[in-house]
């Protein structure tokens, strides 16, 4: 057990929250998280625990902090954590660089994937894979293995075009961009994957492709946090838990049926409950 973990356990004794042994073994454990952008508080005391092998869905109306949560976990600049902790694999990662978090196995499928003209997909992917291998003290991937891996993962998400000569996301359609995110996820094999509205703007066929990709990668050794507005994606990727995020906090947690209930009753139902 590392020193951070010991320190955590020590401080936890004085903390108000109740810590069980199980919680410290969690893959992701967010405690009383407060996040502000430009001084404005968006996340207001959020708690979330994710174990390996689980799929969590986070739902909620617009502007309640879903994407902010993803940004805070991945370490995006400009998202100030004013209070609370993000424990990942037993380490508080709040001060960790975004690239180190990525190499520790945290992956974000972007809501709006960025176009990077001039950087080819292959170049980008090999640089990313080798960065991770270097982080793990492994030798760089050979050209042959890399090509084989690319082909395999391309097939998984049904990308048929040659990626070698294409710049990252440049000229990709909305659906292609999202499939490209899942492709990258498959290439990098993260331990914790956060999908930020990967379903938005997808037609039903593309949605099925994305879901197939996720379901293939799903295992006892990894976990998924799926941020979505709609229940639709959850028909294909069945979650173990559904959380409702409202006004910067998780206000309700349930099983997969909660998503159906939300779909039927709408978010107004949550808002009304909150007001009570």
């Amino acid at each position: 057990m590392n020193i951070l973990n010991e320190l955590y356990e020590f401080t936890a004794d004085f903390a108000i929250c109740h810590i069980t042994q199980k919680e410290t073994e969690m893959l992701l454990n967010i405690k009383n998280l407060h996040v502000a952008i430009d001084g404005k508080e968006i996340i207001k005391g959020l708690n979330l625990g994710v174990n390996k092998g689980e799929v969590h869905a986070i739902m909620g109306p617009n502007g309640t902090g879903k994407s902010t949560l993803a940004a805070a976990i991945t370490g995006r600049e400009g998202y100030e954590i004013t209070e609370g902790e993000i424990w990942y694999k037993g380490i508080n990662i709040v001060e960790m660089d975004p690239d180190a978090r990525a190499n520790e196995g945290i992956f974000l499928s972007f809501q709006y994937p960025v176009e990077i003209p001039g950087v080819s997909m292959t170049n980008f992917m090999r640089t990313a894979i080798n960065a991770k291998r270097e982080y793990l003290n492994q030798a760089p991937i050979s050209a042959g293995d890399f090509l084989k891996l690319m082909e395999e993962k391309k097939n998984l998400v049904e990308i048929h075009s040659k990626l070698t000569n294409r710049s990252v996301n440049e000229g990709f359609s909305g659906g292609e961009k999202k499939r490209n995110e899942i492709f990258q996820m498959a290439m990098l094999e993260p331990t914790l994957a956060i999908l930020d509205e990967t379903d938005s703007g997808l037609d039903i066929d593309a949605l099925k492709v994305v879901a197939k990709g996720v379901n293939t990668l799903r295992s006892e050794d990894n976990a998924f946090v799926i941020i979505t507005h709609y229940q639709r994606l959850l028909d294909y990727i069945v979650p173990d838990f559904v959380h409702v995020l409202y006004d910067g906090k998780i206000v309700k947690t349930g099983g997969k049926n909660l998503a159906l209930e939300l779909e039927a009753k709408g978010y107004e139902w949550i808002k009304e409950n909150q007001l009570v």
Partner: protein
């Protein structure tokens, strides 16, 4: 006759004026009457104007005074050298088979004695030998397009110049090999070096030329090169200029191009290193249907300075031009881009595009970018744009979220920014080489001092970051 080299505490302009007076007979020894008259005319212009300074509009952002204030030597005759020139000029661009023209300290290095004619019929020689053996050609073209427009460096060059490169591609001749002019500065003292190049492409001919300016020591030099290029009807000409001199040195490079009907010219000015560079490029589209691509890339850091002054003259209708200069500036580096497009009254159906994009890596870096369009025709399409920015933070985060370190993400984005220009290089081995040089430059590993850039015999430093995947 005076000695070839006058040294002393004289300021450079006075030194040159004195040399002109004292050694006039020697300087004009091989001149035709017209050439001699041209020297006198330009000398008088120089006497009136002197060297430019930053009080002049066209030199406002380029303070060349400091460099001109340094003590310089100037040779009117080459000094014998005991270096192995074959070895010095050997080009190591892989798979890049070129005809090499060597110029050491401004003097044409004559391998074969006089003019040389390639198997395909391209004539290559020194300024002097061209005057002797091709007087008609020389008379017809020399000095016609190199004028002093706010640039008295052209005048002092025309007045005093003694050597340079002459290339003639006769009608219908297509040179399959790239011609490479390698100019090295290797002096144990500060030197002012002048060069004059005359390049003539006949009708339906083709030539690609690489023009490398390198220093191989750390002494201050100031190189003043004037190049006149005539591109005949239907001819295709490509010019790649590689500039890699030490931080103490200055380079004033004035290139004048005249294009006839349906000719196609591409110039690519790649500035990697130098204390101070001024590129004056003028392209005159003097025949219907001519097209020019005028491209450039500058990667400057420390206190380096680059100034690109581009003049595109649409003198005839139905011509197109495409101007794209991109720059990355670090530290306290400064750059100037001045893009002038002129469209004559009758030059209808002109299509001219101009763009200058810059990335400033630090707030201490500076770019002054100025488009200037002067249009007298009414049926034209002209567009211009300039951007100044930092590296895209969204893209930075995207790359870092995939595990790529901040330093490598920066490199990738800078390289991607430069890729536009690199991809425009048509000769594949050259493109790969430039690609490699750009990466090295961006990583801060490109050397200028010990060996010339095309001599990088040094083993590649082992690096984990390999941004070239085009080979797999």
């Amino acid at each position: 006759m005076n000695t070839a080299t006058i040294t002393g505490p004289l300021p450079l302009d006075q030194l040159l004026v004195e040399q002109y007076h004292n050694a006039f007979d020697m300087i004009t020894l091989n001149d035709t009457p017209r050439l001699k008259a041209l020297r006198e005319q330009h000398f008088n212009e120089f006497l009136q104007q002197g060297f430019p300074d930053s009080s002049q509009e066209k030199w406002r952002f380029s303070e060349i005074e400091d460099l001109l204030g340094m003590p310089f030597h100037h040779e009117l005759q080459p000094k014998p050298t005991n270096k192995n020139l074959e070895e010095l000029f050997r080009c190591e661009v892989h798979n890049f088979n070129t005809e090499i023209v060597s110029v050491l300290n401004g003097w044409f290095h004559d391998k074969n004695g006089g003019l040389q004619i390639t198997r395909e019929g391209v004539i290559i020689g020194s300024f002097k030998s061209a005057m002797e053996k091709h007087p008609a050609l020389f008379e017809k073209y020399y000095g016609l397009i190199a004028h002093n427009t706010n640039n008295s460096f052209v005048s002092i060059n025309t007045a005093l110049v003694q050597d340079g490169v002459f290339i003639y591609v006769p009608d219908g001749v297509e040179a399959s090999k790239t011609l490479q002019i390698i100019k090295l500065i290797d002096h144990s003292e500060n030197h002012f070096v002048q060069n004059r190049n005359l390049i003539i492409l006949g009708k339906n001919s083709k030539l690609s030329l690489m023009h490398c300016d390198d220093s191989i020591n750390q002494h201050t030099s100031l190189v003043n090169t004037v190049t006149e290029i005539f591109v005949g009807e239907n001819a295709v000409f490509e010019l790649y200029k590689l500039q890699n001199l030490n931080d103490q040195s200055g380079l004033v490079n004035s290139t004048f191009i005249k294009q006839e009907a349906n000719s196609n010219v591409k110039t690519n000015t790649l500035t990697f290193n130098c204390g101070m560079i001024r590129n004056n490029i003028q392209v005159a589209l003097d025949g219907k249907g001519a097209h020019a691509d005028v491209l450039g890339l500058y990667l400057m850091d420390k206190q380096q300075h680059v100034d690109n002054q581009i003049r595109i003259l649409h003198n005839q209708p139905h011509c197109t031009s495409n101007e794209l200069f991109k720059g990355i500036l670090d530290d306290e580096a400064t750059a100037v881009f001045n893009g002038y497009i002129y469209v004559a009254r009758d030059a209808q159906k002109t299509n001219a595009y101009q763009n200058n994009n810059n990335i400033l890596l630090k707030p201490t870096a500076t770019i002054n970018t100025m488009p200037f369009l002067e249009i007298y025709a009414d049926d034209v399409k002209c567009s211009h744009g300039a951007t100044i920015g930092q590296l895209d933070q969204e893209a930075m985060f995207y790359l870092r979220q995939r595990g790529i370190s901040a330093a490598n993400a920066r490199l990738l984005l800078m390289y991607a920014f430069a890729a536009d220009i690199i991809n425009n290089i048509n000769i594949e081995p050259l493109r790969n080489r430039i690609d490699d040089m750009v990466k090295k430059r961006l990583r801060g590993e490109l050397s200028v001092c010990e060996k010339c850039v095309l001599h990088c015999g040094m083993p590649e430093k082992e690096i984990h970051f390999d941004i070239d995947l085009s080979k797999i």
